[in-house]
């Protein structure tokens, strides 16, 4: 990034703090979260940089980042932050904000995975791995990765050909519908 970011408003910081229920403003950039982050190497911004960008109100940079979709929710940062910031919860809040704002997210495969996974839960009450994987591959166009593993997984009984539906699937669909209605209000 070549442009110099300048602070202009604390609206974004305040929204992130409200939605994550944690004090992002307490971050003093010790970088302990980034040091222990398992996927820091793959991220465009390290967790401590994401915190700083939130301070600066750099909404487009944060919500458009790959970092928020690379976070594996391992909770190492949350456990270790000397200021008690729930950094993993901040990552969740940022992902939800990116979805709510209907941003065009390129390469956010995590989002497509989440949609495929939750679609399966809504349909069956449980995850039907085969269907979920197919839905994910169609969404991302990434048709070939891991296809070679399918025969082996079938032989080992690790993939079911048919979904195992929960007897409470109607209840699950009702929960999804109500959650959506509340989010839309």
């Amino acid at each position: 990034m070549s442009a110099i970011l300048q602070w202009n408003s604390s609206d974004f910081l305040e929204e992130v703090q409200r939605r994550s229920n944690t004090a992002v403003s307490a971050c003093f950039q010790c970088h302990k979260c980034s040091t222990g982050c398992p996927v820091g190497r793959e991220m465009d911004f390290l967790p401590s940089q994401v915190m700083r960008l939130v301070h600066l109100g750099a909404e487009a940079e944060v919500l458009g980042s790959q970092a928020i979709w690379l976070c594996a929710s391992c909770e190492a940062c949350t456990t270790r932050c000397p200021m008690g910031i729930d950094i993993a919860a901040v990552m969740d809040a940022l992902r939800i904000m990116a979805i709510d704002r209907q941003l065009v997210l390129t390469g956010a495969h995590g989002r497509e995975f989440n949609r495929s996974f939750l679609g399966s839960v809504r349909r069956h009450g449980r995850v039907y791995e085969m269907g979920m994987m197919a839905a994910y591959k169609l969404r991302t166009g990434d048709l070939l990765t891991d296809v070679g593993k399918v025969p082996q997984m079938l032989v080992k009984g690790k993939l079911s050909l048919l979904p195992k539906r929960s007897g409470s699937v109607k209840k699950v669909r009702e929960v999804f519908r109500r959650a959506e209605e509340e989010a839309g209000q």
Binding site: R19, N21, P38, V39, R41, E42, W69, L70, A72, S73, C74, E75, A76, T78, T79, D86, A88, M91, D92, R95, I96, I99, H109, G110, E112, F113, N114, R115, F117, L118, V121, G125, R126, V127, E129, M133, Y136, T145, D146, Q152, M153, K156, G157, K158, L159, S160, K164, S166, G167, S168, V169, K171, V172, E174, V175, F176, R178, A179, E182, A183
Partner: protein, 298 residues
Amino acid sequence: MKYAFFPGCSLESSAWDFDRSTRAVCRTLGIELEDIPDWVCCGSTPAHASSDSLAVALPALNLQKAQAAGLPVMTACASCYARLRTANHKVRNEAADRERTERITGKPYDGGVEVHHVLDVLVNHFGPDAIRAKVSRALDGLRVACYYGCLLARPPEIVAFDDPEHPTSMDDVVAATGAEPVAWPYKTECCGASLSMTHAGAVSRLGQKLLSMARQAGAECLAVACPLCQVNLDLRQADASKAHGTIPQTPVLYITQLVGLALGLSSRQLGLRALTVSAERLLAERGIATVGAREGKL
């Protein structure tokens, strides 16, 4: 000792051997499990990364059923465990979360159901000494790296049965089987979890790092207690070895499979054939028979 068992989706498919070995071990130890009727998915990471309300409501649907049965919950999947405990934590501590959860599920829930991981049950409810007393085939000479991963120990105020940076509960169980838990530094490093689908390259990098460190520390196999850890380290082991540096083939067993072997259960009763990197040769080399003395008794 009786629990409402929450198997979770992985235990019905990719981790069927974790399901089978957990049930077999509990039966052998006299720990009674009653499946939560018509249980539903906990939502896992996709729910908490997409919707605050689903992240609590989906686990709550199961917890409400356990509460009606009047039983504490036991689960084997580390991710389900963390999601159920997190839902309880939120319902107990945030009035807004409790109100929303009750509204969305249409039922009251106070967050009061106890939730335990099978490792917690083995160590803190049953106890390593009681396991040792039931061992009929000690796993002498087997060197095991206990891999806890993320969600069994973090964040401590939610999962709370072991130390977040230096957990020892699985080491205690492994020692009770007669095997030797090795000291190694990556017990709680992340394997990449659900990035397995979206960023397989990162997952094989992390897997290689973990497996080569376990080898360096003298381990010849790993013990895990999470379906995602198992798949990432076992199914992706060949990819990891190829992409990031060769590691000798290292079986990755569920802790319940190791305990089951020590209790005299058979390969079939523990689902050992599900492992991508077979453990049969290593077990044979250590003189650990996999045809169970108890075969036919279950």
